[in-house]
């Protein structure tokens, strides 16, 4: 076995961990890893040319680039459409064609969010923009990320999920609505009973949420750029 294959073998376990963060089922993960490896191999001769600078770091760098392209490529094969500035409101569609188009867009956009963002950012983005798409597993995954240093969920996932379901039933959530954003942070980012959280804590949590929303948009836009590039 050649040197590149040996180096690659050592990095494949790491690559599979990364794939878990972006693809839920096993088949999709395997496909993502395979696509990444094939793209990395295509680009390796040019990418690795020149002075030797920590070949392992360089190979991971190549794999990170390749995985981004692989994600874009796989999403494109799933007929992923480009994300708009704001998600369209399906309920406002007046014709059957509009309704179908808006639903297709929403499905592909949710697929893009799930594929391109990590659990904390995904929870923040879906909670604000596509609240009906959130599932219990999103809460569980965001809660697990607390050990990474970024608190995505301040409550146990079961408690937060119950509060969330009630909120979605009681309030009709609207994207970017200030009152809804406040509700989101009270449930996801504060520990006290909703409605009794201090203004200071809510303001801090909203700032944090806005940061994560900006990061989610940056990632989606970056993927869009990569999809557009040859």
């Amino acid at each position: 076995m050649g040197e590149f294959a040996e180096l690659l073998r050592e990095e494949l376990e790491w690559l599979q961990r990364r794939a878990v963060a972006f693809a839920r089922d096993e088949e999709m993960r395997a496909e993502l890893v395979q696509e990444t490896v094939h793209i990395a191999l295509e680009r390796a001769p040019r990418f690795l040319a020149g002075p030797s600078r920590n070949p392992r770091a360089r190979l991971r760098c190549l794999l990170v680039h390749a995985m981004k392209s692989a994600r874009s490529r796989l999403l494109r094969q799933m007929r992923w459409t480009r994300p708009a500035e704001e998600p369209p409101d399906v309920s406002h569609a007046e014709t059957p064609e509009n309704t179908v188009r808006a639903k297709e867009w929403q499905e592909s956009h949710v697929a893009a969010v799930r594929a391109l963002t990590t659990p904390n950012i995904r929870l923040a983005y879906l909670a604000v923009h596509l609240p009906h798409e959130l599932e219990f597993r999103d809460f569980e995954e965001a809660a697990r990320f607390r050990r990474g240093g970024a608190a995505g969920l301040a409550r146990p996932p079961e408690v937060a999920w119950e509060l969330w379901r009630r909120a979605v039933e009681e309030f009709y959530p609207r994207a970017n609505d200030a009152e809804w954003k406040r509700k989101v942070v009270e449930i996801l980012r504060c520990e006290g009973p909703p409605g009794e959280v201090s203004e200071e804590e809510v303001a801090r949590a909203i700032r944090n949420l806005d940061t994560q929303l900006a990061r989610a948009r940056a990632r989606l836009a970056q993927a869009e750029d990569e999809e557009d590039s040859p």
């Binding site: 294959a5 599979q16 001769p45 990170v64 940061t211 940056a218």
Partner: protein, 254 residues
């Protein structure tokens, strides 16, 4: 712009990138990491202004990829990055800050147990042999790069001791080693008979400095770019390619 001011601004893409690679090999102390973060952010901010050199874009993309590939080395800068969001960063600064702020999350992913559902041997066996050979060759050349530079200087020295015949063309007596690939340009170490040059094949009209001394440029014999005869100095030689107000330092090794 003077080199002193460049040093103050800290916009040295080569040095910033080299430090990032050093961090990947061994996580740095927090103070050194934050100092580096300021330099990387200065590059991103400059890139957010219009009409900046290509070298900045290529460097920042590589920096972001390194942070994403080795998040554990950069995780301690996450809080620093979060605090910078209040400064209304531009698109490139957002990309850098996002990578740094996400480093703890990615480091946590890297620390989890792999759900190994993949048949690694089968995957590796499925890769085309000719492409694997090309990648192997690139790795070999990269590993032997330093030796190739040494051999080029040895050949230059040997050529100086031989008589040069009038019928000999420059092309017959020329060889080269790639020094750096910077954005859409390439820096190449070229030997022609006993002379050694640094050639820039790429856009713009950059200047080349050894220390504080600017080397005199020439036009390339063919193609667009610049050529600088390398003075006889003991190696390693640290050089700085300066385009507009951005420097890219690099080394010709011993």
């Amino acid at each position: 712009m003077s080199l002193d001011l460049l040093a103050v601004l800290g916009l040295d893409t080569g040095a910033t990138l080299k430090t990032a690679y050093d961090f990947c090999a061994a996580p740095p102390p927090k103070e050194a990491l934050l100092e580096w973060c300021e330099k990387a952010l200065a590059i991103a901010r400059r890139l957010d202004e219009k009409g900046r050199p290509e070298v900045l874009r290529a460097t920042l993309e590589e920096i972001v990829a390194l942070v994403e590939a080795h998040p554990a080395s950069f995780a301690e800068a996450a809080k620093w990055a979060d605090e910078r969001w209040a400064e209304a960063p531009g698109p490139w600064a957002i990309r850098l800050l996002d990578a740094l702020a996400s480093a703890p999350e990615l480091a946590a992913i890297d620390a989890t147990e792999a759900a190994s559902a993949l048949d690694v041997d089968r995957l590796l066996a499925s890769l085309p042999a000719e492409k694997l050979a090309a990648a192997d060759e690139a790795l070999r050349a990269s590993r032997e790069w330093k030796a190739a530079v040494q051999e080029l200087f040895d050949r230059a020295r040997a050529s100086a001791e031989l008589p040069r015949f009038a019928a000999q063309t420059a092309a017959e007596e020329e060889d080269h080693v790639l020094l750096e690939r910077i954005g859409k340009g390439e820096l190449v170490l070229t030997r022609s008979h006993a002379e050694v040059y640094v050639d820039w094949y790429g856009p713009g009209e950059p200047a080349l400095f050894v220390g504080d001394v600017e080397l005199s440029p020439r036009n390339l014999p063919q193609g667009e770019g610049r050529r600088w005869p390398l003075p006889s100095l003991s190696r390693p030689i640290w050089l700085r390619l300066v385009a507009e107000d951005v420097a890219h330092s690099f080394e010709i090794p011993d």
